[in-house]
């Protein structure tokens, strides 16, 4: 499903060169629920940006769904993001001027789906996250948990092959966080691959596989020398 091989990402300014990812390699199979943890500045978000085609890699190779991503132009990358990837962001990233229906509808419009099909998908996804009755509400009229559910509905509406979640419970209280995690587990049970970046070890533990990132490199719980538990302990102490 997702294969990164020796991926590097370097940010350059006139005077500074920052290596955010170094020789980063990772494989994620279809249907997996992978959590990615690591200390601040370890490269988690950079990994997520590259995995989600939000940024281009500097070196290495990246295959998504059997397709070499590094050769795609901007239009093709936008299309892959729209059709194959669903995003869930820490700060929800709903568009404040649009009501809930229109927010969920955004990626579907970019795909060019017909109005009836879009309506069907938006209503189904909002029903799935329990917000069908709030379609005409603005994001500001919803709680944080409800806004994140809308964001999940938006991510699901495109029927993506995999979901990228960036600290999806970071702005939520424990109760709401549990509810969102349950929803993600349900979605994963339906066959959708999920990669979730989080700094909360208890949440990471609810994934099927845990990845620890440090200094722009990956330690896979299933392939590294150290156990995931050690990595978590290390992260917790960092």
């Amino acid at each position: 499903m997702l294969r990164m091989n020796s991926v590097s990402k370097v940010y350059r300014t006139d005077t500074v060169e920052t290596h955010a990812l170094r020789e980063f390699s990772l494989s994620v199979e279809e249907g997996e629920f992978v959590s990615v943890t690591g200390p601040s500045g370890s490269g988690k978000t950079t990994f997520l940006n590259i995995a989600g085609l939000l940024e281009e890699l500097t070196d290495g190779s990246y295959e998504l769904d059997g397709r070499d991503i590094s050769s795609l132009n901007d239009r093709e990358r936008s299309r892959v993001r729209n059709e194959k990837i669903g995003f869930i962001f820490q700060s929800f990233n709903l568009i404040p001027e649009l009501d809930i229906f229109d927010n969920v509808d955004v990626p579907l419009r970019y795909r060019g789906l017909k109005s009836a099909e879009r309506r069907r998908r938006v209503e189904r996804c909002l029903e799935l996250v329990g917000l069908a009755s709030r379609m005409k509400h603005l994001p500001a009229q919803l709680s944080g948990g409800q806004q994140q559910r809308v964001a999940i509905a938006r991510a699901l509406a495109g029927e993506p092959r995999f979901l990228l979640a960036d600290e999806p419970t970071g702005n939520l209280d424990t109760h709401m966080a549990d509810s969102v995690m349950e929803l993600l587990a349900e979605i994963n049970a339906g066959g959708t691959t999920i990669i979730m970046v989080t700094h909360e070890l208890t949440l990471a533990d609810r994934a099927k596989r845990n990845i620890f990132v440090r200094d722009g490199n990956v330690s896979d719980g299933y392939g590294s020398d150290a156990s995931p538990e050690l990595h978590f302990a290390s992260a917790a102490n960092a």
Binding site: T45, L48, N49, G52, L53, L54, E55, D74, R75, S78, R79, R81, N82, E83, F87, F89, Q90, S91, N93, I95, P96, E97, L98, D99, D102, D105, V106, P107, R109, Y110, R111, L138, R154, G158, D166
Partner: protein
Amino acid sequence: MEFGPIWRAMLRNKGGFLLIALQIAVTMTIMVNAIAIIQERSRNIARPSGLDEANTFTLVSVSIGEDMDNKSLIDEDLDLLRGMPGVLNATASNSMPLLQSGWSEGLTLEPGEGKSDSSSALYFADEHTADTFALNFVEGANFEPNQVEWRNHEVNDWPPFVIVSRALAEDLFPDETGSYVGKTFYIDDDNPVNIIGVVERMQAAWQGWSGLERSMLVPQRQDWNFTRYIVRTEPGYREELMPEIEDMLVKSNPDRIIQSVRSMDEVRKLAYLGDAAMIRILTFIVALLTVITGLGIVGLASFNVSRRTRQIGIRRALGATRPAIVRHFMVENLLVSVIGIGVGGILAVALNMFMVEAFALEPLAWYVIPAAMSVLLIVGQLAVAGPARKASNVTPAIATRSV
């Protein structure tokens, strides 16, 4: 196209958009009416005088010698002028079309004081005047030499024949469907005159007068010390002959002054100086307003791009291509522009109706409003193109950055 969501989002954040729509509406209103005035002034300037303007010029002879025989001087001058190689014809008159000074008379169809059925500019003329003016007879004939008489300051008689412009004939006899030749009207209350000829066009001396097209030739020559000569040359000879003729007349009789040597182009330019200035000022105002409106749109669009950088990144992350982001801002601007030009169109028509009523302006040509709408739509779209392109360069990675 996502008109619906963009429209709904604009309604929830309408302050800036309304201001720009208002600016577009005001620009539209002023632009349309300024164009209407420019068109009217341009039409006025383009009206033909009836003369062979490209080959005509005028000059004035003022006698300064004591006991000058003006009649002889005029005859000698005209003989010299008509005999000059390159000159087609020449005449002496009190004025000429568009000169801005002249003689006018009230006209009546019945004799009697205090009546006025029409009014007309009046040019004293001889049998050469019609040809010098290059007038086109639509009916009747020119004066015979024996019909032309002298007129001086002591004599206020009117000859029994005149040649009139068609506009004057139509104004005097609006119900006439046949010939105007032979018709009688009265000058100066009770002096009957017969129409012996009708010319297609001969403008009055005053470009701003509502009766500009009404004028007539009276077969009289002025025995005054102030004589205006009008000279028509062969094509291409005018500029060369103007100084030569001036020198020739000065040398032929030093007891007079030759002045105001002007080509018909200069006469026309002086007559329409105010109109030309008005056209330039209004054109400048329209251009300035259009530029200011364009800059206003650039400003609002740039502000919106800065304010919504994160939102643009989110849209990019959700699959918006760069052209889709450009399109988003273009559509947003299109909606604002449509509101602005819609309101502006209504205001423009209302203002034009007022101006037609208050200042006797001609009503708007049907195509001015759609043309102004198209211009403002194009200006709006061009103005927003830069900020929209800048927006399309926002990286989608901004969506994962902390607020």
